[in-house]
């Protein structure tokens, strides 16, 4: 009996030691888009699981449905996600509608400083109202829209000679938007290795955000502004400025004269397919895909190279990327915050970059070896120095869908003029801001 009692006490003690650990171990779910960096994050998070005892589950949604699915989840107060790597434009709605936990106190108590992250990413991914020190996310994945091209075709002496003869200059990475179009038009319909190839694959998708992300890659270099005075919502003369009209006409000309047939509704996937299948000489896409493209056995390696979105009147790239937030409806907020603390660690950030994620941490970006660490690393740094994002207002979805409609109507459906499309866009956006009580 004594022996039994001793064993029972021993077991009880053992339990009392292990119970706190078990109680603290949570099943966390992280929600994000289904794409290459998500796989890298799964790999990275194994280290967190080993250190914390928490289990990480992942809910990755294909990009075309990501916003729909996740915003539905947030708006209904869903508990599916404890952590969400939400798009940069969601930050306004996330903050104002109470979907995201405000992280200021947590950052202060854990010694996490936003000064340790690239300023453009903190501004875009973390703050609301914009630029104020109110943080609702930690910069998780820096990204911008960039370009990649067939290096082997550009280096081909016959193609180079033909280009020089046609354009009077050497075939090289474009230094301006107009050079970009010129190169794309040169390749359009050209026979290479017995196959007809085309200039470039650009974004024209109608349903979610595609054509807007593509067109802003032309608008920003032309000097596009959303407002005459930041924060005033006075858009007349800014959104439909002469520069904006010129940039929009440029994008339409690009679509009509330098893209493969049938690419009337194309976004990330179609851009990658067009390039990997050898249909196009160049393609636009997010830097997030560049590690995968470089590793591709058929069109990667020494056949591919990358360049930043070329400037025109100024440098400008469309911002992608996301911050990681704790969902306010989660019942495991403490464990979720633990993950954020772990993720903010410079060593974890270095590993994140090495696995294919785009760290926004200064210790990674300012490392002397960073530019040479990947063939696109320098371009990424350059792009992040001149990024511009779409509206991040709580009503961003209405603003985005209005732009999708007006741009697709003009560029793909060939209805009206660029000026008319931008004028209508100003009307639509004005109506949205009036409804919001901001005008």
């Amino acid at each position: 009996m004594k022996r039994f009692n001793g064993a029972a006490i021993g077991a009880a003690l053992a339990c009392s030691v292990s119970v706190p650990t078990l109680a603290a171990a949570d099943d966390l779910t992280l929600c994000w888009a289904a794409w290459d960096p998500a796989n890298a994050l799964v790999e990275l998070s194994k280290e967190f699981e080993a250190q914390s005892g928490h289990t990480m589950n992942f809910e990755f949604i294909p990009w075309p449905n990501f916003a729909d699915r996740m915003l539905n989840e947030l708006n209904s107060g869903g508990k599916l996600c404890d952590l969400l790597i939400g798009d940069s434009q969601w930050i306004g709605g996330g903050a104002e509608n109470g979907h995201y936990v405000k992280l200021n106190d947590f950052f202060d108590s854990e010694g996490i400083s936003m000064d340790d992250f690239a300023p453009a990413t903190v501004y875009a991914y973390s703050t609301w109202p914009k630029g104020t020190p109110n943080y609702y996310a930690l910069p998780a994945m820096g990204d911008a829209n960039g370009w990649f091209y067939r290096k082997d075709w550009f280096a081909d002496p016959e193609i180079q000679a033909a280009f020089k003869e046609a354009k009077g200059r050497d075939l090289a990475e474009p230094k301006s938007q107009k050079e970009l179009l010129e190169i794309a038009q040169f390749f359009q319909g050209r026979e290479i290795d017995g196959k007809t190839v085309y200039g470039a694959s650009i974004f024209t998708e109608r349903g979610s955000e595609g054509i807007t992300m593509g067109i802003t890659s032309a608008l920003y270099p032309w000097g596009f502004k959303y407002e005459n005075t930041p924060g005033s919502y006075d858009m007349e003369g800014a959104v439909n400025s002469a520069e904006a009209v010129e940039a929009l006409e440029f994008y339409k000309e690009f679509y009509e004269t330098a893209t493969p047939p049938g690419y009337t509704n194309s976004y990330m996937g179609e851009s990658l397919d067009a390039f990997k299948s050898g249909q196009v000489a160049m393609a636009m896409n997010w830097f997030a895909f560049f590690p995968g493209l470089y590793a591709d056995p058929n069109t990667g390696g020494d056949k591919i190279d990358f360049f930043v979105n070329p400037p025109q009147n100024q440098a400008g790239s469309t911002l992608g990327g996301q911050g990681i937030s704790v969902v306010a409806y989660s019942e495991k907020q403490d464990a979720a915050l633990e993950y954020i603390k772990w993720f903010a660690n410079p060593e974890v950030q270095a590993k994140w970059w090495s696995l294919g994620g785009y760290s926004a941490h200064n210790s990674v970006l300012n490392d002397p070896g960073f530019v040479d660490s990947a063939p696109f690393a320098g371009d990424f740094l350059e792009a992040m120095g001149a990024v511009q994002d779409f509206w991040q207002e709580p009503a961003y979805a209405e603003l985005l869908l209005a732009m999708q409609k007006r741009m697709h109507d003009y560029v793909v459906a060939d209805q009206g003029t660029a000026k008319e499309a931008l004028d209508k866009l100003v009307e639509d956006w004005t109506e949205v801001f009036e409804d919001e009580g901001k005008l």
């Binding site: 947030l74 109608r206 047939p261 009337t264 869908l401 459906a413 209805q415």
Partner: protein
């Protein structure tokens, strides 16, 4: 037999329950049986409808629960009915409805007429013809998207095989002129078998003796067709038109898969537009007003149509 069953049921009823039931009138018992159905109908149909009507007079947004909705009267209705873009969506829907129904009725009836001949292998061909409507609209949409692909698609290849020229010289889904027809073609391909089956039922319901009497009267085949076949199949045909009309008025999945409403807004049917307003822009009040307008339109048209259908049946 019925009586003995009733007796058995009465005997099997526990005395306490039987005493209670005996206190109810027939009408009360009928209400007890009907009540669950009525409650369910109120809960899942009538209550949401009333709530939607109420929301349609507000600026409520389902993603802004922390903002108090304001009563804005008929503003949403006024906005919708004066919005030229919405009228373009209505036109696109009307084009889609008119041509899909016309083609499906013509082809469906022709196919039913042929199948009704009872030739060798007619059952096999019936099965083959009805296959498309057994597929999921999402699958059909993706499948046809590939067929319409201008560089590798079979559709362009077949067309240019007969007409000459480059297969990639036209884009079914990317052209403003062709995209509305591309969705009509796919819907016709998928749903003509449904109309065919209904017509076939109609044709098979016509007794042979009517044709035999017509033969005796030396009526020509054409005369028999117009005075016997068409009038007797007409109620079936009208029913098929009603079903397809209601289905196509709310068409969503197939068109979203094929064109996403593009190019531009050329194939943005009202249901696609409504979904965007309600669940992408989250303009709940506005979308409620939009839904009410569509509901009244469909309900009104369907009521007129059903009256016409009943008149045809009575003849």
């Amino acid at each position: 037999m019925t009586d003995s069953l009733a007796n058995q049921a009465a005997q099997a009823t526990p005395p306490r329950v039987a005493r209670k039931i005996r206190g109810f009138s027939d009408r009360a018992i009928a209400w007890i049986f009907v009540a669950p159905t009525i409650f369910l109908l109120l809960a899942i149909n009538i209550f949401p409808l009333i709530w939607t009507i109420q929301l349609s007079f507000t600026n409520f947004k389902a993603n802004r629960l922390n903002r108090e909705p304001e009563f804005i009267g008929l503003r949403n209705y006024e906005r919708i009915l004066t919005d030229s873009d919405i009228w373009l969506n209505m036109q696109a829907t009307a084009h889609f409805l008119f041509w899909t129904i016309t083609l499906q009725v013509l082809i469906g009836f022709a196919l039913a007429w042929l199948i009704h001949r009872n030739f060798k292998g007619s059952n096999f061909w019936t099965t083959v013809i009805v296959l498309p409507m057994m597929l999921s609209p999402a699958v059909v949409g993706n499948f046809w998207k590939f067929l319409y692909q201008p560089q590798i698609g079979l559709f362009n290849y077949i067309v240019t095989f007969f007409t000459g020229g480059e297969a990639s010289s036209f884009e079914m889904l990317g052209s403003v002129n062709l995209a509305p027809w591309s969705i009509v073609i796919v819907d016709t391909w998928m749903w003509t078998p449904f109309v065919m089956l209904i017509c076939l039922a109609g044709l098979r319901s016509i007794p042979d003796y009517i044709y035999e009497a017509a033969e005796v009267d030396r009526a020509s085949k054409l005369r028999q067709f117009f005075t016997i076949t068409i009038p007797m199949v007409l109620p079936f045909l009208m029913l098929a038109v009603l079903f397809r009309g209601i289905e196509n008025f709310k068409m969503f999945d197939l068109v979203v898969q094929l064109t996403g409403g593009g190019p531009g807004s050329t194939t943005e049917l009202t249901s696609i537009n409504l979904k965007r307003e309600a669940f992408e822009k989250w303009r709940t009040g506005y979308a409620s007003a939009y839904a009410i307008i569509l509901f009244v339109t469909v309900f009104g048209l369907a009521s007129i149509y059903v009256k016409a259908l009943n008149k045809v049946k009575e003849r």
